[in-house]
Symmetry: C2
Subunit: 419 residues, 2 copies
Amino acid sequence: MSSPRNIVEDIVRRAKKASFIMAKANESAKNRALEIIAQNLVAKHKEIVRANSVDISNARKKKLSSAMIDRLRLNKERIEEMAETIMDIVNLPDPVGEITRIWKRPNGLLVGKMRIPIGVIGIIYESRPNVTSDAAALCIKSGNAVVLRGGSEAINTNMVIASIIKSSMKMAGLPEDGVQVVPTTDREAVLHILTLEDYIDLIIPRGGEGLIKFVVENSRIPVVKHYKGVCHIYVDEYADMNKAVNITVNAKVQRPSVCNAVETLLVHEKIARKFLPIVGKELKKHGVEIRGCRRTAGILKGIKRASEDDWYAEYLDMILAVKVVRSIEEAIEHIETYGSSHTESIVTENYTNAMKFLTEVNSSSVMVNASTRFSDGNQYGLGAEMGISTTKLHAYGPMGLEGLTIEKFIVFGQGQIRE
Amino acid sequence: MSSPRNIVEDIVRRAKKASFIMAKANESAKNRALEIIAQNLVAKHKEIVRANSVDISNARKKKLSSAMIDRLRLNKERIEEMAETIMDIVNLPDPVGEITRIWKRPNGLLVGKMRIPIGVIGIIYESRPNVTSDAAALCIKSGNAVVLRGGSEAINTNMVIASIIKSSMKMAGLPEDGVQVVPTTDREAVLHILTLEDYIDLIIPRGGEGLIKFVVENSRIPVVKHYKGVCHIYVDEYADMNKAVNITVNAKVQRPSVCNAVETLLVHEKIARKFLPIVGKELKKHGVEIRGCRRTAGILKGIKRASEDDWYAEYLDMILAVKVVRSIEEAIEHIETYGSSHTESIVTENYTNAMKFLTEVNSSSVMVNASTRFSDGNQYGLGAEMGISTTKLHAYGPMGLEGLTIEKFIVFGQGQIRE
């Protein structure tokens, strides 16, 4: 019998081999494969649900929380949503082969840059089994091979989804080895994957901070990561009051459980006495708990005081930390100290301050007069996203199909040699 | 007394703090700093040479090879060259703040991408002390802070260069903490640097394969690496004989010791009988040893036969491996199997084959009818380069100032909130 280590090596080697064929596949072949996958997932939904019910019953035996069991559960409707996501990816432009720039050198050489797939991408994720099809579809469309390692609690569901994807790939004339699901939940096997730098080009962990830290600490392969979103809104002294209230409330309450919801509000001292009571009232209506600095507490009586930990907190909940600052510089410094490089927005009517914030704050998304909730691949027009990178390398911010490519140099010569 | 671990942590923390100021520095401040550094290196060349002579005499005591001692040696002329390289970097455009794209969303949001520095870059390199000033200058111009860890044999030279750079930074009003040289040659200290992912954003190792492997295996920080250059030229059946001979000879003999010199020549069988004797004669004139496949040996009598190892070899010497192939597909497959993702060139007059090679070969530089020797930042018009990345992530190919930046998303709103 093969050891988990051998199984993983075999899978990864096959993925590498398939990656050369995937890289050469044209857009229509890749779209055909995605369409067949979408059709087959829906056509075989009963098979998927059957495997899923095994995972669910195992999860119950292991006494997983009902929230986790809910994330794990698939039904016909959720499978149809998975198919829709794939069809959305069909409609996105294929980034591979695009020549993004080309310039001429004094010796007549035309030098340019062309987008190509990264190669083999390893995705390490937790419970939601829809990641299996979403991630596979993004990798297929961008011409990459993919090695998927989902949570052990979803192994039966993932294996069925993988076999449907593989047979669909074959039907479309693409290599079934281009999509691999690690068929073991062995922990040593994951550790081994992370050392196979000759076969895997990039690791993307999707899940909690613990998973990401584990991957970063153990990987020899480059990791693109997204730790957390501690997003800030800075209400400048020259803010339009209406915009400031609307944007703050929207960024906090429209969907508080996601990484682009605002967690800390910074308010210029010159506008605080006027702005805080109004926004405080609106937030209270929506049931938001405010944790304020000393000066905020002086204006909004009876609120809880913020501790140092609150400035670092990603609440993902109806809680907002609020701090009064003396200047835009103090706001920027606060973001540099406590921020997570995710998304920050300034509300101001002042041109100089808007451009100062936009230029000097180096989070992955920096906005003027807009809700932080727009920080996402779909809202930016990138289509489905693989995640939001807060690593200042390769991809920074929402990572769509383009984030799964790299540019090679191309050179058109007429026989030039170097003097 | 501080432990090496504490010294390193202190340095890296200072670099991180300085990186925020570096990121905001405008181009004229950065250029002024570079000009002062260039002037001071030349003005204080005696001080540098004095420190260098200590390193040289230590190297002699340690019985280092004369080639290594030569790489280590600085004299007035070499110091003037270092200053010239810095002045070349002054003349390159500052990439920071450039808005590379901007597009409008249906809700009126303008979404764009703006180049920003990566943050803190760690350079780990071997003997040549000019890397200290070259790398520091590239990082300063691109708004990054830099932590330099050179070879232990150059420590005295590097410390003097560093102190000149630091005092020059101060004179220009930039933070001297933006350039750090690790003042210890302790091995544990390097290992510790590689774990400080909260402070360093990117590690670039410059040196032999051993150094690079060591860094990759021990780093939690992303590494951009360049292992080796096994460059190929494929002479297609439709090649122009003249171009094929000139390009092959130039790519092999013009400077055989560098990574963009050709190491393997692939020749289509339909042109081999005509081409090989001509190119063989030219190569022989220059003293190149040919190691050929069976069919090559059938045409070029008396040559050495190539073993499997030769197809993987980066000779960096007057040796060329030669293989006859049946098709362009076989040539591409050979490159995929044995190549190092560095640079490959096709020689052909056939449009379809040129585009097939250009599109399907995914090395960092792919050329048509040009010498592989052009694969370099200066030749591409990027200016000085930090190295040539063969990692298919972030930067791929010659890595100039742009490779030391990343793009953040910027959003110009008019008060938009998410529905």
